[in-house]
């Protein structure tokens, strides 16, 4: 609600036509108006090249190191007020069960089963069901390439939360195509029984991050789904930045990249490996604190652990 006429001028960035869908997934609130709920920070673990993975063949992990990193993410959440989820990259089918078991024991954060193959997807869903953690599991991701077998497994296991990824070769260079693709994806996702649809507007490099941010606004405006993107891909694919020796430059660029979608109204961001949590949380927390103030002027009472209140004491 905008209280006076002057406040509505230029308020488009902060407002959407569609009613915003807000989900509670494993105790984390995702979605809503800009600045209303703390951003959900999604960090990855056990990705290719992760130093926690001791053997990329068997998937053996350094449990102490992984636990310490997960604890650091939780500390950053407490420190900033931002919410967290853990994206488990399931690239080694034989290790999916072990990796899920480990993470479920190590944290109460919601878990994303980031399945890079059909086999890993099936194993991840099956094991989440066996462990009884589907209420805090999000399948990552459903996209135009997702097989019928995976969709059937999602339906059978009653997976309720999933990321819909707006990726196709045609959509890479256009935010309009991303939205169009989502329109075709929604019926497939709902048919699979998914109720909590979170939309990832797909990032490949820096210019596509711009398209992704524009799509975020469009998706929230038209459909109201919680929306975000894998902003950090823009850093990973940036060859000259990867070669850069100045670590501060890398941190500055990484922070801007990971924060940009939040400034554009996103509800969540994939900020890359959890190792980088410390700096990214602070950057994103600033935006939440700023936008939270706009909500306050509009009469919204924010939750007490919102970054609007916690960032001052960082």
């Amino acid at each position: 609600m905008v209280p006076c006429e002057i406040a509505s001028e230029g308020a488009e960035l902060y407002q959407f036509n569609a009613e915003q869908k807000v989900y509670n997934i494993g105790g984390v609130t995702v979605g809503g108006d800009v600045g209303e709920n703390p951003t959900v920070m999604i960090g990855s673990i056990f990705h290719k090249g992760d130093s926690c993975v001791l053997d990329e063949g068997t998937g053996e992990i350094d449990r102490k190191m992984a636990e310490a990193l997960i604890n650091r993410v939780e500390e950053q959440s407490d420190r900033t007020g931002l919410q967290s989820m853990l994206d488990i990259v399931c690239s080694i089918p034989g290790a999916v069960r072990d990796h899920l078991d480990f993470c479920v024991d190590a944290t109460e954060m919601p878990i994303l089963v980031d399945a890079v193959s059909e086999e890993a997807a099936i194993k991840g869903i099956e094991h989440s069901e066996e462990m009884g953690i589907l209420d805090r599991t999000i399948f990552n991701s459903l996209n135009p390439h997702t097989s019928k077998k995976v969709l059937e497994k999602i339906k059978e296991a009653e997976v309720r939360s999933a990321i819909a990824l707006t990726y196709s070769s045609e959509a890479v260079a256009s935010y309009v195509e991303r939205v169009r693709l989502l329109e075709t994806l929604i019926p497939r996702v709902t048919e699979a029984g998914v109720r909590n649809i979170l939309v990832d507007t797909f990032v490949m490099d820096v210019p596509t991050l711009g398209l992704s941010c524009r799509a975020i606004h469009e998706v929230k405006d038209r459909y109201g789904y919680p929306t975000g993107c894998g902003a950090h891909n823009a850093v990973g694919s940036w060859k000259s930045l990867q070669r850069e020796k100045d670590q501060r430059l890398k941190l500055v660029c990484g922070s801007v990249v990971d924060s940009l979608p939040i400034a554009a109204g996103a509800d969540f961001v994939f900020y890359g490996p959890i190792n980088g949590a410390e700096y990214v949380f602070a950057a994103v927390g600033i935006i939440d604190a700023c936008y939270g103030q706009v909500q306050m002027e509009w009469g919204k009472r924010l939750r007490p652990d919102h970054p609007r209140f916690k960032m001052a004491g960082l």
């Binding site: 890479v172 490949m204 490099d205």
Partner: protein, 214 residues
């Protein structure tokens, strides 16, 4: 013709698809040589974008958009080339695809665009392609190169399966095999007898070019 070539190159350089299509139509209207327009204009500028991408000077999106622009403008020129009985000169025919069990296509698509930029004819079989399909297409299309991509260790055995199947059908020596993707190591590529190990997209394409020049 020089002015038209300059126009074509500038359109690609500034990622202006409408300008490239318009320049291609001007080539036809002026009765100028469409093969020269492609080779000296469109392809030359796309090669330049590809080279800059290899050096990390432009984004992936730039390469992709430039390739799309060139493909669109070439489509306008091609009927005239066929009418005249001439042919576009290509460096070789390249069949690419991601093996069965793997649906990742970004790396493969980058390779495809770099190949186009370097004058190859590219036939993309897509993702999750069964070994039998690769073999059938090699037999049917007789490519100079077969590029197989696998990002996942779990789909790595598929690479060997394709090569074994080509051997069984007596087709292995008819085609150069290029292996790439995050799961592939130099040792693995050597072990299965690949002709080129593509450590990354740029190196894979460069080594393939070298093979055509031998």
């Amino acid at each position: 013709m020089d002015e038209l070539i300059r126009e074509l190159r500038e359109a690609v350089r500034f990622y202006d698809g409408a300008a490239a299509d318009s320049a291609a139509r001007k080539v036809l209207a002026a009765d100028a040589d469409p093969v020269e327009a492609i080779e000296m204009g469109l392809a030359a500028e796309l090669r330049s974008v590809g080279e800059r991408y290899g050096r990390g000077k432009v984004w992936f999106l730039d390469l992709m958009v430039a390739a799309q622009i060139v493909q669109s403008a070439v489509k306008i020129l091609e009927p005239e080339i066929r009418k005249g009985g001439a042919e576009k000169r290509v460096r070789g025919r390249f069949l690419i695809g991601t093996v069965a069990g793997d649906i990742h296509d970004i790396g493969k698509n980058i390779v495809g665009m770099l190949l186009l930029a370097n004058g190859f004819e590219v036939i993309d079989l897509g993702v999750d392609v069964p070994a039998e399909t690769f073999v059938e297409k090699v037999e049917e299309l007789k490519p100079d190169f077969l590029g197989l991509s696998s990002l996942l260790t779990s789909s790595l055995p598929e690479l060997r399966k394709v090569i074994d199947a080509l051997n069984e059908r007596g087709l292995r020596d008819e085609v150069n095999i290029v292996l790439g993707g995050a799961a592939v190591t130099p040792d693995y590529a050597r072990e299965v007898g690949a002709d080129v190990y593509a450590e990354d997209a740029v190196k894979g394409v460069n080594e393939s070019i070298q093979l055509t020049e031998r």
